[in-house]
Amino acid sequence: MRISLRWLNDYVQINLPPEELAHRLSMAGLEVEAIEKLGDFWDSIRVGRVVRLEKHPNADRLWLATVDLGDRQETVVTGAPNLREGVKVPFAPVGAKLIDPAQGKLVELRAARIRGIESRGMVCSEAELGISDDHSGIMILPDDAPVGAPLREYLGDVVLDAKPSPNRPDWFSLLGIAREVGALTGQPVTEPPAEYAEAGPPVGALVQVEIADPDLCLRYCATVITGLKIGPSPEWLQRRLRAAGMRPINNVVDVTNYVMLEWGQPLHAFDLDRVIGRRIIVRRARPGERLVTLDGQDRALPPDALVIADAERAIGLAGIMGGANSEVSETTTAIVLESANFHPTNIRRTATALGLRTEASIRFERAIRPELTVPAARRATALILELAGGQAAQGMVDLYPGQKPETEVTVTAAQIKRLLGTDIPGPEVHRVLGLLGCRVEEPEPGVYRVRPPFWRSDLNIREDIIEELARIIGYDNMPTTMPAGPLPEPIFDPRRDLEEAVRDILVGCGLQEVLTYSLVSKTLLDLFDRNGAPEPLRLVNPMSAEQEYLRTSLRPSLVNTLATNRRRGEVGPVKIFEIGRVYWARPDDLPLELKRVVGVLSGPAGPRVWNRPERELDFYDAKGVLETLFWRLGVDVRFEPGTDPDLHPGKTAVCLVGNARVGVVGELHPRLIDAFELRERPQLFEIDFERLAELPRNSRAYRPVPRYPAVEQDIALVVAETVPAGRLVDIVQGTPYLERVDVFDVYTGPPLSPGEKSVGLGLVFRAPDRTLTEAEVRQLVERLVRRLERAVGARLRA
C-alpha cells in the first residue's frame, strides 16, 4: 500500500516528520518498507508561466521560451514539442539538480549556449523531476499552480510504502491509515465530504437488483447516475492515483479507484445502457459460463464463482473484475455504481482459481466490513457528479442479507494483567480504546464492555483488545520479566546426544560437515540403487526439476557435492559428511523420516606438503574414520566383505553388530565415477543412524589398569593371498592371555611364491596376576601358530 502523505493529510493532520511517522506506524504493526520522497532535490525549482514562445533563430526544431517566475523572467532554449504560450511549467534555474534521464542520476544544471543563444535554466519533463518516466515533453502544470512558488510546496510529496498485515483490511485504505495515525498521535480524523443532490428519479425506477445467492453476497448497494459525461480526470486526481501506483483511465473509473483507495471499499461502475433489462442479479456462475473480463481475457468461470449478471448474462466477476460487456466507455452517459460486500473465502477461492488477484479481491478476501458500502457509495457518487456531471437517482439500492449484530467484547482488568504481566489503569484503557474508535462502557469497575468501530473487523476476542492496548501504549513500554514457575520434567532424548556425538567425532576425524537440499532431481536419485527405499515422493508443485523429489538417500547429494566442488576447481582433498533425513513414503501416512550419516572421502590424502609423500585417499582412510567413530561411540562393530550396488564389489565392507548391518563403506562404483565425470576414486560410507541409535554402547565401562607388564611378540605368517587378514585375527582371538593383536605388515613378492603373502601380527600377552615368563609366551605362540596352520594353512615365515 502506497501512502501519499499529501493525500493522507486530507483526513488527519500529520504533525510528525515522515521518518518518525513511518517508525511509529511500524512499531504499531504497519510495517513501512520504504519512504519515497518526491521532490527532495527540487531545491530551487519553481512554478513558471511561459509568456512567450519563439522559434530559435538558428535551429529548426528548437524554441526560445520566456518563462515568468513572478519576480523575474528567464529565457531558455527548449526542444519540447508540447509548449504553448500561457502554460505553467516547472522551471529549473542554473545550479538546480535534475535527473538526467539518459544516465538515471542527478546532475547539476549549468548555463549553456545552444546554437549561439544562451540558455539560463530549463523547463523540465516529469522524468527530469523524478515524477515519472515520461520524457516526451515538458510537464504542464495545472492552471491553479501559483507562479513563482517553489515546486516542492505545490507538488512535493512523501510516499510511504507499507505492508499491511492480512488481518488489517482497514490498512488497505487511506482513511484506515489516517485513523491509525490519529490513534497514535491524538489528532482527529475527518471523513471526506459525501453530500450530493438526489435530483433524478427514484433509483428503483432505473435499476432492479436481486441477490440470488445471499450466502456469498453480504450486502449490495448501488446508486445510479444519468446524463454524465466521460472524460479525463482532473490533474490532482490523476496525480494521486499515480502516486498510489494506479493508472488513470477516465473520470468515472478513476473515481471508483480513488474511493477504493480512500475508504478501502472496492467499487464498480457498469454502463447502465449495457445492463440488459436494467436488472442486476448476484448469483453463482452457471456450469460452463464464461466471461470476458476487463483485461480482455475470456475466462471459464469456476464452479461457485459469484457473478454480477443482468437479465441475460454475466457482466462482472463479483469482487474481482468487471466484464468487458458492460464496461464504461467514452460514450457512456449513465452508470450503475456498485458498492457491495462479498464473502471473503469465495472471492479468495475464485481469484486463486483464475490466477487473478486484483486490488478489489485482495480487499474482499481480507474481510472488509459491509458497513463500508454506504459511505463509499455516497462519496463516489458525489465525486462523479462533481467531475462528470449528471444527475443522481433518488435513494440508493441497499440489500443487506448478511447483517450481523454489532461485535461486543468484554475484557477485565484482571485479564489484561494476566496477559501483559502489568496493570493498565482504567483511564488509560478508556483513553487508548477511545483513540481507536472503540466505544467502551465500564458496567462495574475493571470490567470493560468494548464495541470496536465498524472498520476494525479484526477485533473479536479479548486478546485482540489487549493487544490494542499494548501496541498503542507501545510494546517497549510493557514490562520485561523472566518466567517464573516450575521447569518441565526433562525430556530424555539420547538420539540427539548421539547425533551431536557423531557430528563431533566426524569433524574430529577431519571431515567437513555439509547440509544439502532435501529436494533432488529424479535424474540424480536414479543414478544410485534404490537400496530398499520405496519410490521417492514427488512434489505436486516443484520449483524446478532439480528440486522435485524428496530424497530417499543421502548418497546422491554427497557425491554430487564432491562433483560440484571439483567443477568449481577444488583440487585438494574432499572429505565431507552429512547427518540428514531421508524420506520414505508410506501409504496413507506421512513418510518415514529416517536419519542417515553419509560421508565421502576423495582425492589427495592431504594438502601437498614438503615432508609427506603424496597419495590418494583410499578405502582404508574411509574405514579408519568408521573404526574411530564406532570406537569412540563404544559400539563393537565387525567389518566383513560385503556388497552394495553403488560400491566397488571388491572394495566394500559392511559394518555388522551381531547380525545387524549398521553401515557400509567402500569405493564408489566405477559406473558412478563415470556418471559424475570424476577422475578420482571416491570412498563412501553410510551409517543407518536409526539402527545405530538402537545399539548397546559400552564406551563408559571401566576396566582396572593392569598391574603386571605385557609381553610383546611379533610373528610373520605366510598364507595364501586369498586369506583375509581379518580371518587370521579372528582365529587368534581368544588365545589365553592375548590382550591385543595388530596387523603391522602385509607383504607380497619375492622371495614368497606367487599367490602367497606374508602378514605380520603384533601380539600382546598379559596375565592379570603375574608377569608371564618367556617360556609361557613361547608356548602360547606355538599353540596359536598351530591353530592358524590347521585353519588356513599358515606357516611361520623364517
Binding site: 512499531m27 504493526g29 498485515s165 492480512p166 488481518n167 488489517r168 471473503p344 473465502t345 479468495r348 477461492r349 478476501e365 494476566r418 496477559l419 501483559l420 504481566g421 486478546e463 493487544e467 501496541r471 510493557m478 520485561t480 520479566t481 523472566m482 518466567p483 517464573a484 514457575g485 521447569l487 518441565p488 526433562p490 525430556i491 540427539r496 551431536e500 557430528r503 569433524v507 574430529g508 576425524c509 577431519g510 567437513q512 560437515e513 547440509l515 544439502t516 537440499y517 532435501s518 515422493l537 512434489l539 505436486v540 508443485n541 524428496l550 560440484t564 568449481r568 577444488e570 574432499v574 572429505k575 533425513r581 506421512l590 513418510p591 523420516e593 592431504g606 606438503v609 614438503w610 615432508n611
Partner: protein, 349 residues
C-alpha cells in the same frame, strides 16, 4: 718426601687435565691419575714405608689431593659435556620456517554452529530441544495454528504440496513451511509446564534471492504454563538476544501479526554494524529483525485441549541462517546450501 711427591703429582695432574679436550681424553686422564692402578694409588702404596706417626698427616694430604682432583675432573667433565651437547644441538638444527605437518581439519556447517549456540542459549533458559517431521499434514502446519483453508494469511507461507490438488486434497500433505506445527505436536504430547525449542528444516515455494531460500532452517520456541505473560516473553527473548549477540545489544519489540499468536510481535536487535545509526546491513533503520513471537492464541490452546482460561504461553521463531549472516557477515543466504567448500571451511567454531 712423600708429601713433596704428592704435591708434584697434583700439579702435574691438574696441568694434564687442562689438556684433555674430549670426553675420551678425560676418561683416560682419570684412569691415569685416579684409577685403581693410577698414579695417586701408586704413591699411596708407599704410605706403608713411612713412620707411623707421620701417616695421619700424609694421609690427610693425600685425601685432600684426591678430592681436589676428583672435583677438578667433574668440573672439566661438565664443561666438555656442555661443549659436546652444544655441538650436537647445532648439528640438529631444523628449518623452523618450514610448514608443520598438517593436522586433518574438519569443520561444522555454519547452520549447525549457530543452531548449537541458539539451542544452548535456550537450554540455559530451561528450554529443551525436540524435533519433528518435515513432511506435515495441513492440519498441523496451518489448521491447528488458526490458519484455516482460504485464510488470506496463508499467503505468508507458500507451500510445496505432496498431495494432488494441494490444499484441496482430502488430507493435504506438504513440506512444513515453518517449525510452528511442532507447537501443536508438543502440546498434544506433553502437558504444561512446557518449554521446548525446535530446530529444523522448513520449505517455502518462493523465488530465491539473497535473503530467501526455498529450504532453510528455523528454530521454534514454545513455553506454556499457568501465569506466563507477555512480559515473560519479552524477558526471555531479551535474555536470548544478549546471550547470542552480546550483553551490549539493545532489543526492540514491534507489533506484528501471526494468526497463531495474540498479541503478536517481532523482535529486532540494534545493528552492531553501525551501532544503530543506520547502514546497508540494517537497511538504514538501525535495527535488524531476528524473530517473530507472541502469546499463544487461545484458539490454538483450545485446538490441543488446553483451557485458555487456565493456561497461557508464548511462542517464538527465527532463522538460524539470518543469525549466522549477522554474526559472520554473510551477504547471501544461497551460500548456505550450495556447499561450496571455500565457503564452508571459513567457519571454524
Amino acid at each position: 718426601m712423600i708429601t713433596t711427591e704428592l704435591e708434584q703429582l697434583r700439579a702435574e695432574a691438574l696441568a694434564s687435565l687442562e689438556q684433555a679436550e674430549t670426553l675420551d681424553a678425560l676418561r683416560e686422564w682419570r684412569v691415569t691419575y685416579l684409577g685403581r692402578r693410577g698414579r695417586l694409588t701408586q704413591v699411596l702404596r708407599q704410605l706403608g714405608t713411612i713412620p707411623p706417626e707421620e701417616r695421619p698427616r700424609v694421609g690427610a694430604v693425600a685425601n685432600r689431593i684426591k678430592d681436589e682432583l676428583e672435583a677438578a675432573y667433574e668440573a672439566r667433565e661438565a664443561v666438555l659435556k656442555e661443549a659436546a651437547l652444544a655441538v650436537t644441538l647445532a648439528a640438529e638444527r631444523v628449518d623452523v620456517t618450514l610448514p608443520g605437518r598438517p593436522v586433518d581439519l574438519g569443520g561444522y556447517h555454519p547452520t549447525t554452529l549457530v543452531l548449537r549456540e541458539i539451542t544452548s542459549a535456550f537450554a540455559e533458559l530451561g528450554f529443551q530441544v525436540v524435533e519433528g517431521p518435515e513432511v506435515e499434514w495441513d492440519y498441523y502446519n496451518f489448521e491447528a495454528l488458526n490458519i484455516p483453508r482460504d485464510h488470506p494469511a496463508r499467503d505468508m507461507w507458500n507451500s510445496f504440496w505432496l498431495t494432488p490438488g494441494g490444499t484441496e486434497a482430502e488430507r493435504p500433505m506438504l513440506l512444513r513451511t515453518h517449525t510452528s506445527p511442532m507447537q501443536i505436536r508438543v502440546m498434544e504430547k506433553f502437558r504444561p509446564p512446557i518449554r521446548v525449542v525446535v530446530p529444523g528444516r522448513c520449505y517455502r515455494y518462493e523465488a530465491t534471492d539473497a535473503t530467501h531460500e526455498s529450504m532453510f532452517y528455523q528454530f521454534e520456541g514454545l513455553a506454556v504454563d499457568e501465569g506466563l505473560t507477555f512480559a515473560d516473553l519479552k524477558g526471555t527473548l531479551y535474555a536470548f538476544a544478549r546471550m547470542l549477540f552480546g550483553p551490549e545489544r539493545r532489543v526492540r519489540f514491534r507489533c506484528d501479526y501471526f494468526p497463531f499468536v495474540e498479541p503478536g510481535c517481532d523482535m529486532s536487535i540494534d545493528c552492531s554494524h553501525c551501532g544503530g545509526q543506520g547502514c546497508r546491513v540494517c537497511g538504514g533503520s538501525g535495527w535488524i529483525e531476528i524473530m517473530g513471537a507472541g502469546m499463544v492464541h487461545p484458539q490454538v490452546l483450545r485446538n490441543v485441549g488446553l483451557d485458555p482460561d487456565r493456561y497461557q504461553g508464548f511462542a517464538f521463531g527465527g532463522g538460524p541462517e539470518r543469525v549466522a549472516m549477522l554474526k559472520y557477515g554473510i551477504e547471501d543466504i544461497r551460500h548456505f546450501y550450495a556447499n561450496d567448500l571455500r565457503f564452508l571451511r571459513q567457519f571454524r567454531w
